[in-house]
Each structure stands twice: as structure tokens, then as C-alpha cells.
């Protein structure tokens, strides 16, 4: 058991350094390197936070889906921990998307919020995973909670394409994706903007993995404490 606890005690300094360097590079690119956009002005720079956050949110929810399937299949606590950690990080970044979006929309569209397809589906997504975390909070720790959460993790992700199409046909005003267009990758924007966006996405992805490793470590420590507590309780 000492080996396992040794392993959980060692923080990922390498990953931490890498993510830190990535964030610094992204900040440099966003605030110094990339020129100010002609029509939208300085407010356009928020896009370099908005788009990577959205990417991380979707990526995190996809990881929740994968880990939920793996949990129901293998019934190993490990997958439950990963799903839980990823859902929490996904909610943080999804909230960032919902905050940075209106900040940009107010000066550009003149309103904080419109009931556009992408805004609506992001909000619904946020609500689904908030419900997921609430379900986790409401049930006792153990395999029952893990199973219920896994079911919601799977069902919630399967719903995403359906929600996407339903709100898309409902109405849409969101600017078309500029980076991934039908003409190919990176043709919609200036080259320096594409580079900045890529650096930001890379930095946010590193940050996601860093947060994941920290959160997973925390959860393992909790398990360890529970185990020690039980051991002490029954040894007397």
C-alpha cells in the first residue's frame, strides 16, 4: 500500500510546468502578438478564451461519457473518479463559455443574450451536467452513486446531438465557425489569429490535464482517508 500512497503523493511537476508555460505563451500571443481585430476592436480578444473554453467543456463531457461507459462495463472505482473530475472541470469551462459569450455579445450584438442555437445548447448542456453533479451530491458515496452518475453521464452525452439539431432548427444567429470551415482548416481568419487560437487551445488542453490530475489525486486521497478511518475504527 505504501507504493500506491507514494505515487499519489507525487504531484505532476512536469505537467504543471508545461501547462504554466503554455498559459504564459497563450497570454503573450493573445495580448501582445496578435493584432487588434479591425471591425470588432479589442473585445474580439475574448474569443481566444471563449473558443478554447468551449472546446475543453465539450472534451471534458466526452471524457465523462467514455469513463461512464467504462465504469458500467468494468465497475472499477478509477473510472468513476475520472468521470467525476472531468464533469467538474467541464462545468467550470462551460460556465466560462457562458460568461465570456455575453461579455462579447453586449458590445457587438448590443444585447447580452439571444436565443441562438449555440447559446441555447451550451446553456442546456450546462444544466445537464449541473444536474449530474447535483445527483452526485445527493447520493451516498459508493457503487450506487457511481452507477447512477454513469447512467446520467451516458444519457446526457447521447442527448447532445439531438439538442444541437433541435435548437439549430429552432433558430440561429451565432457567427459561423471561422476556424473550421467548409473550405478547410483555418481559412476564415488571418494567419496570426489562427496561430493565437491554436496556442490558446493547446494551453487550455494542458490546463485541463493538469486540473484532471490534481482533482483525481484529491479524490484518491479522500478514498485513502476513508480507508484509514475505517481501519482505525475497526482495530479498536
Amino acid at each position: 500500500m505504501s507504493d500506491a500512497s507514494q505515487e499519489t503523493d507525487s504531484p505532476g511537476y512536469g505537467l504543471m510546468g508545461l501547462a504554466g508555460a503554455g498559459i504564459l505563451a497563450a497570454m503573450g500571443a493573445i495580448f501582445i502578438y496578435v493584432p487588434t481585430e479591425k471591425t470588432e476592436g479589442v473585445v474580439q480578444r475574448i474569443m481566444y478564451f471563449h473558443v478554447p473554453s468551449a472546446w475543453i467543456a465539450f472534451f471534458a463531457f466526452f471524457i465523462v461519457f467514455l469513463c461512464s461507459i467504462l465504469y458500467l462495463w468494468k465497475k472499477e472505482r478509477e473510472w468513476d473518479i475520472y468521470a467525476h473530475a472531468s464533469a467538474e472541470i467541464g462545468i467550470v469551462f462551460c460556465s466560462l463559455v457562458l460568461i465570456t459569450g455575453p461579455l462579447w455579445a453586449k458590445p457587438i450584438w448590443g444585447v447580452w443574450w439571444v436565443w441562438d442555437a449555440r447559446l441555447t445548447s451550451t446553456l442546456v448542456l450546462w444544466l445537464i451536467y449541473v444536474a449530474y453533479l447535483m445527483l452526485r451530491g445527493q447520493s451516498e458515496a459508493g457503487s450506487t452513486r457511481a452507477k447512477y452518475a454513469a447512467v446520467i453521464g451516458i444519457v446526457g452525452f447521447l442527448d447532445i446531438p439531438l439538442i444541437h439539431f433541435s435548437v439549430l432548427w429552432w433558430r440561429t444567429f451565432h457567427p459561423d465557425p471561422k476556424f473550421i470551415t467548409t473550405q478547410g482548416l483555418g481559412t476564415g481568419n488571418d494567419a496570426s489569429m489562427n496561430i493565437t487560437l491554436l496556442v490558446a487551445v493547446g494551453a487550455f488542453t494542458l490546463l485541463y490535464f493538469l486540473l484532471m490530475s490534481l482533482r483525481v489525486r484529491l479524490e484518491r486521497m479522500k478514498d485513502e482517508i476513508d480507508r484509514i478511518k475505517k481501519e482505525r475504527l475497526y482495530s479498536h
Partner: protein, 226 residues
């Protein structure tokens, strides 16, 4: 296969017998749905907006809200007196329990809707008689999806301490495609369009039904355990 069907039928029959004995679910669902409609009529000015435009939304909100009441009861009733224990001890497949509960929820909702539609017709002054066939199809598809996902989540939330709160919180965000699709389709039908013009919505709702019935069959084993 025949055995499986008779098992499913037995669970549906059990639910109907319970309902005929207690008579608490159906009447409360119907009265609640009428109340929801009434509150919406107070909150919108029907002399300004066209009934065809707001009516479908009100109808579906009433159906979804009243349906949630029914779903909440569906598995809570089984928890009382260890009924669910008995069901799980019975030598039937877990998916048969799911199908039985889902179909009885569907049947209760459809009966309630049959009573609710005339009320809707009178309150909103809309003509339903001329396009009853597409309307029936939309209501059937929408309610099927709602009962499929609702039964799955109800079986899950009935084990929580805060079950009455958690069921709608889990269910409503996931029901968005059904809510938007059914309201859209109902609205178009009331405007006299045919279903063939809106096959994308029909396809979407059918996809929802198929995806969540299959997802429920695959995951119900993990929920109805212990």
C-alpha cells in the same frame, strides 16, 4: 418472446389494478394539467397573441408537468411496502420491468391527454377535429420519448432522498429536443400543414425515442440492482 410479452403485460396490468384501487394518480395528473393551462392563460393575453402560436407550447408544458407527477409516483409507489424488491425477485428480465413501467406510464399519459385535448380545444378556441390524425401521431411520438427517458430517470431518482426535486432537474434539460420538436410540430399542424413538410422534426423525435429506449434497456440492469 411470448413469455416476455406476458411478463410485460403482467406489470402493466398490475399498475392499472393499483390505479383503479387507489385512484389517486390519474385524477391528480389531470387536474394539475388543467391548472397549468389555466395559469398560462392568465399569464398570456389571448386577445393579443394568436392561440395557434402559444397554444401548442401551453399544451405541451401541461403534459410534461403533469407527466412528471405521474413519473414521480411510478417508482415511489413500488418502493413502498417493498414492491420493487418483489418485482426484482420475480424471474423476469430487468428490461421487462422497464418496458412494463414505461408502457403503463405511457398509457396513463395518453389517457390523460385524451381528456386534456378537449379542454385545450375549448380554452384556446382551436379546431382540432380536421387534423386529428397527424396530431395523434405527434402526441404519440412525443409522449413515447417522454415516458422512455422519464421511466429510466424515475427508477433512478426514486432511490434518492430528494426524489421529487431531482427528477425534474435531471429530466427537463434532457427533454429539450422533445419539448421543442413537439411544440413546433403541433403548431404547424394547427396551422394546417401536413407532416410530410416537417419530416426533419419527425425524424428527430423518432431518433430520440429509439436512442433513449435502447439506452434505457442497456442501463436499466445497473439501476435496478441490489
Amino acid at each position: 418472446m411470448n413469455l416476455y410479452l406476458s411478463q410485460v403485460m403482467a406489470i402493466i396490468r398490475k399498475d392499472f389494478v393499483t390505479e383503479f384501487k387507489t385512484r389517486e394518480l390519474f385524477s391528480s395528473m389531470f387536474v394539475f394539467a388543467v391548472l397549468v393551462m389555466l395559469i398560462f392563460i392568465f399569464s398570456i393575453n389571448l386577445s393579443v397573441v394568436k392561440a395557434n402560436q402559444v397554444g401548442p407550447g401551453v399544451l405541451w408544458v401541461a403534459i410534461l408537468f403533469a407527466g412528471t407527477l405521474g413519473l414521480n409516483r411510478s417508482f415511489t409507489l413500488e418502493k413502498e411496502n417493498g414492491c420493487l424488491q418483489g418485482l426484482m425477485l420475480a424471474p423476469v428480465d430487468r428490461s421487462a420491468i422497464f418496458f412494463g413501467k414505461m408502457l403503463s406510464n405511457l398509457a396513463f399519459l395518453l389517457i390523460m391527454e385524451a381528456f386534456l385535448l378537449p379542454v385545450f380545444m375549448i380554452f384556446f378556441n382551436v379546431e382540432l377535429g380536421s387534423h386529428w390524425a397527424p396530431l395523434l401521431a405527434v402526441i404519440l411520438m412525443g409522449t413515447l420519448g417522454f415516458s422512455a427517458l422519464g421511466t429510466l430517470l424515475s427508477s433512478l431518482s426514486s432511490n434518492l432522498k430528494t426524489r421529487e426535486i431531482m427528477l425534474p432537474i435531471l429530466l427537463y434539460p434532457l427533454m429539450v429536443p422533445i419539448a421543442i420538436g413537439s411544440v413546433r410540430l403541433t403548431g404547424q399542424i394547427l396551422d394546417g400543414k401536413s407532416l410530410a413538410d416537417m419530416m426533419n422534426w419527425v425524424g428527430l423525435i423518432l431518433c430520440f425515442d429509439i436512442i433513449f429506449i435502447s439506452a434505457s434497456i442497456m442501463t436499466i440492469d445497473h439501476i435496478l440492482e441490489e
